[in-house]
């Protein structure tokens, strides 16, 4: 190749063969060159994958020079030849490398090449598995070391086979061939699982089995029972690592798919549940009444029905019965694997409808959750402290899995959960009362969230009290961290409990944990990170409160809203007090992400937004503080917090300027043209008449003037009156100088309110055409609205009344005195409202106003916030 034969750029396909050839030349071993080391291999693979060197695809290439295409093909040919010869090498390391690369090739190469050569590769790879299992002994006798004797080679060839089959699954036309190949391979794979002793081999064999079940379900059918027995015996053996147990459970859960009918799924589920129950009987001896096990059994196998064969067949069943006295830890790990397996069965897809035994599942989960390790000496005199200790050690794991099971049930049953929901809720609330370990609490919170979201209002009614009680418990430390006096009892109690997880009862102890130590930062002076309630738990609590506010903030919410709102604002304020932290995602030596302070801030802000947005009868006292927080948060460029704060401000804008947009303007069909022209300010904007406030017209500049130019007389009259009548609104303001506007407005609003009433005569109302007019008309209607009590004073008065029911209506009196025509009406209204006994809340009053949304009742009353706020302040 010429030294200066440059390629056009990195995307030029002429580059690919060159890269590939140099890879082959320099990094791949061959017969003569030794293997330079495993890191070489990973370099080769990553290069191949990044540059898609094997794809031979011309997609996205501008020019296709046939010579380049040809040379690429030749290079790939060379690569395949080399890889194949490596895989046939009898040096184990070269052979291993060849097998690995064959796997990569089978997923990266072009479809044509794959279809042409998959059977060859398949033969090569499967020779390593079958060879081992069938002729191992022979090989030993022959003294010729077979390369496949290395575990590495076995594992690699299983993995590559799995990839090969996965790829084959994408070509429907070779499905038949692939299935028959898979059938041939199933036995050797099961043999590997049964006979081999290396965990790595088991793992990859299980993976291969899973590939068969998902891609070629019918291939397992013939040896379904053997497969089940093999997997179950591994699970029961207790010799496997946690990771392998997971894989085994997953594989067991997938097995019914190979048959794909309703019965095999139900049977598998029933067998698993029975096995779990049997294990629980052993494990819970001494910490639970014996009758519980039988009770559960009655539900698992209804009386009169046959017991299914034991899980994993007769042999495994008996064998494990003999080993029942094995150490508890092993049993528990099998139980948790089985529980996880049933979760997987519930949440993964299945081709046909199945009968989910919800009741059995709930009973089983409930049985575990109700065991707390307490043992009464009277009932169980032979229980030793040792035994108790060992069961208590394992209980959290079991509880976690039971909770997982509950959440899987909820997810799988969806709307059909309804008949069982009450039972689950009872179970959950009962458990929540006693649950102290943070991880478990987090899980309970997450289940509650799922329930709230899926079952809506009805569920909210059930769960509100429980959520609030627990959220308070978990959030109080942060909410009042600056507050030296309050809540120390609670937080101490909870921190105390959390520090002693073994102790299950919640008691208030008089530890001398100083309040300083309860802050959520690491106190450097003391040198101990004192964080009694982990951030992740607080995040979960906040998220659950958010869900509660989202779903059920209206039904019976008056009692708890104020305290929750103030809790959330103080949590958010405290969370953001120390400034904004960048999201730091780097974590050393740990693959799972640890929630950072930024996540907590985000959760706090999300909950705060929900609290501000969910309906109340009057404006949230935290609105200003909340807006300020969001505004500051938005400045944190590039963080999730900033993104969310921008969203929050958008959402709150609607709260501040509520709108009930109509499809068209019904009142004036002639206005259609006006609408078209004045599209910037569609008059369907319900508070459109307020956009001409003194402030806005000044600041917005041309906006209102534009509309003036196309306006009609009605609009003129609005303008004329607006200066006197309209309540100034901040609607066109940028939020930035909100507070400033506020102070400015107080004066105006005071005057305006006087004028508002004084000019309240019929003519102006008629001309103005805003809500007041409509109300007056309504009042003159012969049909008196029971229940709907229009307040003539306009939105301001309505809002006032709504905020302070009794005192405000008294305050109103002097104002009413100045009303000319509206006077009588107003009086009448006040009377009628008194008679109603309805204490003139925002709901009833605002409905009287024609423009008010019935749905946005509460927010509507907040839509005229300045008066409400301005009033007490100006006093």
């Amino acid at each position: 190749m010429a030294a200066f034969d440059h390629v056009r750029n990195m995307h030029d396909i002429a580059l690919k063969p060159r890269l590939l050839r140099s890879l082959i030349r320099e990094h791949l071993p061959d017969e003569k060159h030794p293997f330079k080391g495993p890191l070489e291999l990973s370099h080769v693979v990553s290069t191949v994958k990044t540059h898609r060197l094997l794809s031979e695809s011309l997609a996205g290439v501008e020019s296709t020079d046939p010579k380049a295409v040809e040379s690429w093909k030749a290079a790939v040919d060379a690569w395949v030849d080399r890889v194949f010869s490596l895989a046939s090498s009898n040096m184990p390391d070269k052979c291993w490398a060849g097998i690995c690369l064959l796997g990569v090739t089978s997923q990266e190469c072009s479809s044509e090449r794959f279809l042409a050569s998959y059977s060859l590769w398949l033969q090569k790879l499967q020779s390593y598995i079958q060879y081992v299992s069938e002729s191992k002994m022979v090989c030993f006798f022959l003294f010729k070391q077979p390369p496949a004797d290395s575990h590495f080679v076995k594992v690699a060839s299983c993995a590559s086979l799995s990839d090969l089959f996965t790829r084959m699954g994408r070509f429907p036309r070779i499905k038949k061939d692939a299935t028959s190949q898979a059938v041939k391979l199933t036995q050797p794979v099961l043999k590997l699982l049964n006979e081999d002793s290396s965990e790595a081999v088991w793992e990859v064999a299980v993976c291969l089995l899973c590939t068969f079940t998902t891609s070629f379900p019918s291939s397992i059918q013939r040896c379904y029972d053997t497969a089940e027995a093999a997997v179950v015996s591994k699970i029961m053996s207790g010799k496997c690592s946690v990771k392998l147990m997971k894989e085994l459970g997953h594989c067991l859960a997938l097995l019914p798919k190979s048959k794909g009918d309703e019965e095999s799924w139900s049977l598998m589920m029933q067998k698993i549940l029975l096995r779990i129950n049997v294990h629980l009987n052993d494990a819970f001896q001494g910490v639970e009444e014996d009758s519980k096990g039988n009770e559960a059994m009655r539900i698992l196998v209804p009386p009169g029905k046959d017991h299914p064969p034991p899980l994993g067949g007769q042999v495994v069943g008996e064998a494990s019965d003999q080993r029942i006295k094995r150490s508890q830890q092993l049993q528990i790990s099998s139980v948790s694997t089985l529980m996880r397996c049933s979760c997987t069965m519930l949440t993964s897809t299945y081709p046909v409808q199945v009968r989910v035994p919800i009741r059995s599942l709930v009973v089983l989960a409930g049985r575990v959750l109700m065991v707390d390790g307490s043992s009464s000496q009277a009932i169980f005199p032979f229980m030793t402290a040792m035994q108790q200790e060992s069961i208590c050690l394992e209980l959290p794991v079991l509880h976690m899995h039971s909770l997982e099971l509950l959440s899987a049930i909820i997810k799988s049953a969806r709307s059909q959960l309804l008949p069982h929901a009450a039972e689950i809720v009872r179970l959950l609330t009962e458990y929540f009362k006693r649950c102290v370990l943070p991880d478990l609490r987090i899980k309970v919170y997450s289940i509650i969230r799922i329930l709230l979201m899926s079952l809506g209002v009805g569920m909210a009614v059930y769960l509100t009290q429980e959520v609030i009680k627990n959220a308070f418990l978990d959030l109080e430390t942060i909410a009042y961290e600056g507050d030296q006096t309050s809540s120390s009892a609670y937080s101490k109690a909870s921190s105390e409990i959390l520090l002693q997880p073994g102790q299950k009862k919640r008691k208030h102890s008089s530890t001398t944990v100083s309040l300083d130590e309860q802050t959520d930062r690491v106190d450097l002076e003391v040198g101990v990170p004192i964080n009694p309630i982990p951030i992740s738990l607080k995040i979960a609590a906040l998220e659950t409160l958010e869900a509660l506010l989202t779903v059920g903030s209206a039904l019976g919410a008056e009692s708890w809203r104020p305290s929750i709102d103030s809790l959330l604002i103080s949590v958010a304020t405290n969370a953001c007090k120390g400034g904004w932290t960048k999201e730091e995602n780097h974590s050393f030596l740990s693959s799972e992400s640890v929630p950072a302070w930024a996540d907590f801030q985000l959760a706090a802000l999300r909950a705060l937004l929900a609290s501000l947005l969910s309906p109340t009868r009057f404006r949230s006292p935290n609105l200003a503080r909340g807006l300020e927080l969001f505004r500051r948060g938005r400045q944190e460029t590039g963080t999730k917090t900033a993104e969310f704060c921008a969203h929050a401000l958008l959402a709150l804008e609607v709260l501040i300027h509520p709108r009930a947009l109509s499809l068209i303007d019904f009142s004036s069909p002639s206005n259609t043209s006006f609408n078209v022209v004045d599209s910037r300010f569609p008059d369907v904007y319900s508070y459109g008449n307020k956009q001409n406030t003194p402030f806005s017209s000044g600041i917005m500049g041309k906006g209102p003037n534009d509309s003036n130019s196309v306006d009609d007389d009605l609009y003129e009259s609005w303008l004329a009156n607006d200066d006197e009548i309209e309540i100034p609104e901040t609607e066109t303001e940028k939020d930035r100088d909100y507070a400033e506007k506020h102070s400015e407005m107080f004066g105006v609003s005071e005057e305006n309110r006087q004028e508002l009433v004084s000019v309240h005569d019929a003519r102006i109302i008629e001309a103005k055409g805003d809500e007041n007019m409509v109300e007056v008309q309504h009042l003159q209607e012969p049909i008196k609205l029971d229940g709907t009590v229009p307040i003539v004073g306009g939105g301001s008065l309505a809002a006032q009344i709504s905020s302070r029911v009794v005192s405000d209506s008294i305050e109103l009196d002097p104002v009413e005195g100045k009303v000319d025509t509206g006077n009588n009406v107003l009086a009448a209204i006040t009377d009628s409202s008194d008679m109603e006994g309805v204490s003139t809340n925002a709901a009833t009053s605002s409905l009287g106003k024609n423009k008010d949304s019935a749905i946005d009742l509460d927010s509507e009353s907040e839509s005229i916030p300045d008066i409400v706020d301005g009033d007490p302040d100006s006093d």
Binding site: V45, L663, I664, H778, G787, T788, T844, N850, S853, I855
Partner: protein
């Protein structure tokens, strides 16, 4: 635009007419259906169900199922009494029917099991509606009552015993038979609009359980449809007019019809019996007593399309988006399962509800395995890691293999060397001995 299906049925046996809303083409007509008002429902997009009008002497009710592609009813159910209104939740997992005795029946669709039956009203139930989030059921009856039921409560035996009454709210302000109910958007903050033969429509707050607004109409209202923006609602009257009543809209000064009523859609025709909105929220599909289905454009107040259903009055209109049909029908076709089993007549009280029949998981259309399912690279990398650590037995095994081969090769070399050495030694020895001999 997404095609939509308009379905109409009538109390006379004129079948269920189907039209494509946008093209106007008439589609398959399902036979033999004489439905009461509010008795036609599309169950989860999977099939159509309708309760049937019965002779007064009939001892049992009748509910028929039609699958989408067959004109004749495939499944016939015979509930314990005649059912008037029929409703299904959006998932299509439950069917709820209101009986003439005032009982409400709730069946599970996949199994046909009668889950619950409870006495809801003193007289016949006339309409049933699910709330926005499917957790509440709202019923109206001939006695004028509108009641709100929490379905969770219905199934919670323990709470039921504690509670004084089963319902969450009972609104009794209507003096005559309730003719239609509609609920709006917003979960627990939603509004309920109910129409009655007392010539009023009443707006209720679901969260507070209070009457928000009472609107008196010039005629009896038989049908209500809520504008999706809930700016107004449309009320079909027996005088042939569809009145537009304000919810959040501003009123006009010209109040020809009465307070809160801001206009009407009128065609000089006979009574309006049912209303339904299309998915875009602009086209209002209305059924009339003269057997016509008129489609109004609510923006322009014009009729944009007319379908003729039959001679008898239309009393049910459904608008079903095709999207729903296509997405839902595919798994059914794939698995060859037809309609669910018939509904049970009586609840089997001894048999506790121990299981649910359901499709598991999400039914994503893409069964395409993802790249994540390829394992060899991952396995290789972990093996490489193991090799780097040099500690594991498997890695050692491979190393041993390699060393054995090396060893064999080295042994051969050693042997060679040894041989050479021996030769040399022999040679030297011979030389020395020879020299000695020579010297000696």
């Amino acid at each position: 635009m997404e095609p939509e299906l308009v379905m109409a049925s009538s109390p006379t046996d004129a079948g269920i007419g189907c039209w494509d809303l946008h093209s106007g083409a008439e589609l398959l007509r399902y036979r033999s259906c004489a439905s009461p008002s509010h008795g036609l429902v599309c169950v989860g997009g999977r099939f159509v169900a309708s309760s049937q009008l019965r002779e007064p002497s009939a001892s049992s009710g009748s509910v028929l199922y039609w699958s989408w592609n067959k004109a004749h009813a495939e499944v016939k159910n015979f509930p314990a009494e005649p059912i008037n209104p029929l409703v299904s939740n959006s998932d299509g997992t439950y069917i709820v029917g209101g009986g003439v005795s005032g009982d409400i029946y709730m069946w599970e669709v996949p199994t046909g099991r009668l889950l619950r039956k409870w006495h809801a009203h003193y007289r016949a139930v006339t309409c049933l509606v699910f709330s926005d989030d499917q957790s509440l059921l709202i019923s109206g009856a001939e006695d004028g009552a509108v009641r709100v039921w929490s379905l969770l409560m219905i199934f919670d035996d323990m709470r039921r015993e504690q509670a004084k009454h089963l319902y969450d709210y009972s609104f009794s302000e209507h003096t005559l038979r309730v003719t239609d109910i509609a609920t709006g958007y917003g979960g627990c903050n939603a509004i309920i609009v109910s129409a009655s033969e007392d010539r009023t429509c009443k707006v209720w707050s679901l969260s507070k359980g209070k009457l928000l607004r009472n609107i008196v109409f010039p005629s009896i209202i038989d049908a209500i449809a809520l504008d999706p923006g809930e700016h107004v609602f449309y009320a079909g009257g027996r005088d042939g007019k569809i009145y537009i009543a304000a919810l959040t809209a501003q009123g006009t000064s010209s109040n020809t019809y009465g307070m809160h009523i801001i206009g009407s859609l009128a065609d000089h025709s006979k009574a309006v019996t049912c209303l339904a909105f299309s998915a875009d929220g602009v086209l209002l599909v209305s059924g009339y007593e003269d057997g016509m289905v008129r489609v109004w454009d609510t923006k322009t107040h014009n009729i944009v399309r007319i379908f003729k259903h039959g001679k008898g009055p239309v009393n049910n209109i459904l608008v079903v988006p095709w999207m729903l049909l296509n997405s839902q029908s595919s798994p059914i076709r794939r698995h060859g399962s037809s309609l669910p089993p018939p509904l049970e007549k009586y609840a089997n009280s001894t048999d506790e509800i121990a299981e649910v029949k359901a499709y598991l998981g999400t039914h994503g259309t893409s069964d395409e395995p993802l790249d994540a399912s390829y394992v060899s690279v991952h396995t290789m990398n972990s093996q490489i890691e193991e090799l780097q650590q040099q500690g594991s037995s498997a890695a050692a095994g491979m190393e041993v293999e390699r060393l054995k081969l090396e060893y064999r090769r080295s042994m051969q070399t050693v042997q060679q060397w040894q041989k050479m050495y021996e030769n040399l030694h022999q040679f030297c020895l011979d030389e020395l001995l020879d020299g000695d001999q020579a010297g000696g």
